[in-house]
Point group: C2
Chain length 137, copies 2
C-alpha cells in the first residue's frame, strides 16, 4: 500500500498543503492518527477524496454540500442516505440543464462564427431562461 506525506498528497491532488490541513479542520478529510509524536501518512483513498472535493467544487457545490455528499459515500444508513441523495439529485439536475443550455448556446455561437466572417451575437442569456419572468409590480 502506497503512502503519502502531506505534501505528497497535496502534490498528487494538485492542491496546496495548507488546503489539506484546512479540509481536515473542516472535517472533509480524516486526519490519520500519527505514530506517537510522528508524522501522518496518507493513502490513495485520500487523494481520491481531495480530487472529488475539487471536482464537486468546480460544478458549484459548497464545502458544506460536499460534506453531505461525502457522508453518502461513507455508507450512511439507508433512509437518510436516500433522502440526502434525492435532494442532491434534484439540484444536480437543475445544474445539468443549465449547463446543457449553455453548452448548446456556445456551440451554436462557435459554429455560426466559423461560418460567417462578421459580427455575431448569440442568445446566451436567453439560453438560461427557464420560464417567463413575472411583470413588475
Amino acid at each position: 500500500m502506497q503512502t503519502y506525506t502531506i505534501s505528497g498528497l497535496a502534490r498528487a491532488a494538485g492542491v496546496n498543503v495548507e488546503t489539506i490541513r484546512f479540509y481536515q479542520r473542516r472535517g472533509l478529510l480524516p486526519e490519520p492518527d500519527k505514530p506517537l509524536g510522528g508524522i501522518r501518512r496518507y493513502s490513495q483513498a485520500d487523494v481520491a477524496r481531495v480530487l472529488f472535493i475539487k471536482s464537486a467544487q468546480r460544478i458549484g457545490f459548497t464545502l458544506d454540500e460536499i460534506a453531505q455528499l461525502l457522508q453518502l459515500d461513507a455508507g450512511t444508513h439507508c433512509a437518510e442516505a436516500r433522502a440526502i441523495a434525492e435532494r442532491k439529485l434534484e439540484d444536480v439536475r437543475v445544474r445539468l440543464a443549465d449547463l446543457q443550455r449553455i453548452e448548446a448556446a456556445l456551440t451554436q455561437l462557435v459554429d455560426r462564427c466559423a461560418a460567417r466572417r462578421d459580427t455575431v451575437s448569440c442568445p446566451l442569456i436567453a439560453a438560461l431562461q427557464p420560464a417567463s419572468a413575472s411583470p413588475p409590480r
Copy 2:
C-alpha cells in the same frame, strides 16, 4: 414596455437590491442613465441578465467568467467571440462530464437504497475519478 425600479428588478430576479448595485459596480449590469437627478428604470432584459448571472454562478462560473460570457451575448467581433466561446466550451464540457457522473452515481444510490432496506454505500468518489492518480514520490 414594462419598467422596474431597482427593488422591482431585485424582486423579479430573486436577489437583494444591494446585489443589483454590486453587479453594476462590477460592470455586470448596465446602469441606466437616470432622468436628471431622478430614479433609474430597468427592463425585462435586465431581469434576464440577472437571472443569467445567477444560473451561471450555480454551475460554478465566477463573476469574471460571467462577464466574459456576457460579452459574447453582446455580440463582440467574430474572432474574439469565437476564441472566448471555445475556451468556455471546453470548460463547460468538463463540468458537464463531472456532473453527469455525479448524477449517475446518485441515481444508482437512490435506486439501490429503494430496493434493499439496509446500509448502502455508493461509489460517489470513484464516480469523479477521471483517470488513475499517480503514485507518491
